[in-house]
């Protein structure tokens, strides 16, 4: 029986400043792998997690504790160990943002995908984890589209973009100025670029960092001495420098706005202490938002999002069920059982179509003939799997016969049909009786 296990170290158990230094490196995970095992490591600023299958719990604990420089006992205290369906559920929750510090934040899915890409490059994942990760992406996507969690972007970056969209009709034509190459400003700038904004200017004290970010965002890098001109030319300003004093004052903005003919400017100050004097919001057509005002909005949105958690959890439970069924069927016994179940479904379907045309006697003859023919056809894949019960053969068989796709449908119909369920039992009993 394949069992997925997980160790999770997150912001709930470890302070953020320590957590930032904890990292389960994919390269180190590769060295842990044993033949037939799979693993997946996820590192973000709020969590470090490893998921694996085919390895002993204690062995992984020892290696991970060595990796992050703590004793296995201490790791046990600061981490969460999950196994089976619990670990699958946890991964689905993480990818959907339900375990994030900012509930429902969208960036985590990108990080989960990036970690999967690394795992693929390092050959850490195979059949089980490929399926698990694709199911994870599907679950996260469903939650974003089917619940309102995605409708209320609560991360500060999303909030900034949302705000700019309320002021500017064609945000893609806006000019964006990012002052400081900090993480939050970078995320906000990335989100603006994703919304089609192409004219992005990065202004930083260290021009090299500005150039790196500008290269990533297809933008322009400028030095701090060009602040005045850059401000005059920008419609959206995102600032997050480490400056101890405000770098943009009311007088400076009043002068710039006059030169801009009071064309509106959205200013997002996500620095602490502030980069922009609060009085700047009094300058005509300056829409200034700092962390305090954004946090208020974020807090208000939390209440709305929490209503959607129950709905998101329903989706997760459904997807965990689908994945668990697939995992349980991922052995010779389960696959052969499903093949016979499929066979019975086809026979039932054929008989149901012809019922009105023939009598009971003919129906029994037809049923015997159909079953006999189907058994001969199904006998080949069944024998093959019995002789070669390898995971990839089993997975291919399941794919060829699409055993996981219409499971719910088939199962439901068979349950509702007394005749079919009798046949199914008969077939299962027949199968159980085989050597």
């Amino acid at each position: 029986m394949i069992r997925i296990q997980c160790i999770s170290i997150d912001y709930r158990h470890v302070p953020i400043d320590i957590l930032e230094k904890v990292r389960i490196s994919p390269n180190a995970v590769v060295s842990m792998l044993t033949p037939g095992s799979e693993a997946y490591a996820l590192n973000t600023c709020n969590r470090a997690e490893i998921y694996w299958t085919g390895m002993e719990k204690q062995g992984v604990f020892n290696k991970v504790s060595g990796l992050i420089g703590v004793t296995p006992g201490y790791l046990d205290r600061i981490s969460l160990y999950l196994r089976g369906e619990e670990s699958v559920r946890h991964l689905f929750r993480v990818a959907s943002g339900l375990e994030s510090m900012v509930l429902g934040e969208p960036q985590i899915l990108g990080q989960v995908k990036e970690a999967y890409r690394v795992a693929l490059d390092e050959h850490m994942v195979s059949i089980v984890f490929n399926k698990l990760l694709h199911r994870t992406f599907r679950t996260a996507k469903r939650i974003r589209t089917e619940t309102a969690i995605g409708r209320f972007p609560v991360s500060v970056a999303s909030e900034a973009v949302e705000l700019a969209c309320h002021v500017f009709d064609e945000i893609q034509n806006s000019k964006v100025l990012v002052i400081g190459a900090g993480e939050m400003a970078t995320i906000a700038a990335r989100r603006l670029r994703d919304r089609g904004v192409s004219r992005i200017t990065i202004l930083n004290r260290t021009i090299d960092r500005a150039k790196d970010l500008a290269e990533e965002l297809d933008g322009v890098a400028l030095g701090f001495n060009e602040l005045h001109d850059a401000l005059k030319a920008s419609d959206i300003l995102i600032t997050s420098t480490g400056s101890s004093k405000p770098i943009i004052t009311r007088e400076m903005m009043a002068e710039i706005m006059k030169k801009r003919h009071y064309s509106p400017v959205v200013m997002i100050d996500i620095a602490l202490p502030r980069d922009i004097e609060p009085d700047v919001r009094k300058v005509y057509n300056c829409y200034l938002y700092d962390l305090d005002s954004l946090k208020e909005v974020v807090a208000r949105n939390f209440a709305e999002r929490e209503k959607e958690i129950a709905r998101a959890e329903e989706i997760i439970e459904y997807e965990v069920g689908v994945f668990s069924r697939w995992l349980k069927g991922l052995n010779a016994h389960g696959t052969i059982k499903d093949l016979y179940s499929l066979m019975e479904y086809y026979i039932y379907e054929q008989l149901e179509e012809k019922t009105s045309l023939i009598g009971e006697k003919e129906k029994a003859i037809l049923e015997d003939a159909l079953r006999s023919m189907a058994k001969r056809i199904f006998n080949r894949p069944v024998s093959f799997i019995k002789k070669n019960p390898k995971l990839d053969y089993i997975e291919h068989t399941r794919r060829i016969f699409r055993l996981d796709e219409d499971y719910q449908d088939r199962h439901k119909r068979q349950q509702t049909s007394a005749g079919a369920s009798r046949d199914s039992n008969k077939s299962n009993e027949e199968y159980k009786g085989r050597p």
């Binding site: 309320h166 009071y262 509106p264």
Partner: protein, 273 residues
Amino acid sequence: MSIITITSLLYICTSVVFIIILPLRKTLLLGAARVLFLASVVSHGILMGKLFLVLHEIPLSSVPQAINMMIFISSVVFIPIVLSRKTYLLGVFFLPFASFALMWVFPNIGLSSLTPFRPHTYWYPLHTMCVIIGEAMFVVAAVTSLVYLVHESIIKKGDFHSSVSSSLPALTLLDRILYMSVLIGFVAITSGMIIGTLWAQSKGLALPKIMPKIVAGGIVWVIFAVCLHQRFAIGWRGRRTAIAALIGFIVMMVLLFLINMLFPHAHGPGLLL
């Protein structure tokens, strides 16, 4: 059922559906509102045609008729606005106003007792049409200003995730509509004033007789002229233009009623009697 009743009912139904859209935001309802609005404008157009056939002139011979024409032109201008995905919510603010104004105007329009009015000159309908088009554009500007001020206050409070604010057009788009309507309105009203002056001169009308209307028209003209001048000269955009347009519209409506109440023969066909 008369065309006036049909038009009234259509405008009222459209207003109700638009108001319901605000909290519910159902696509089906929006479709229904758009169809109803188009039907209202078509029906209103038929009514205008009927008035024209009776009068053999553009129906502008009384204040109710002038307001009726103003609402009709505003409704025509609002067609692309209501059909647009980004700006349809402006209809929520315009339709109740239009319905209310028409409810007041229709009983006084006197379709059955109309007497043809023939000024025997093209100057008069041209002057009146220019002024009415200008006023209709100021109606559009006033509605847009109202939406601008509402949306801006929502943004400043940071409450921009509510179902209403997420459907409101972006401030820059509202500002563009506002600017265009004020500009077209100002050009039309200025043309109307020039044509009116030429017409008055050709008729040899005494200045004291038309003075109240000249003063009223002048006040409205100055408000919108200042609004545009400040925009061109020092860049009044957004809130200031919205406030100025709203003030201009309120002053225009107040003066329209005051002048026609206090000096009934100081303007319009009365001058020719």
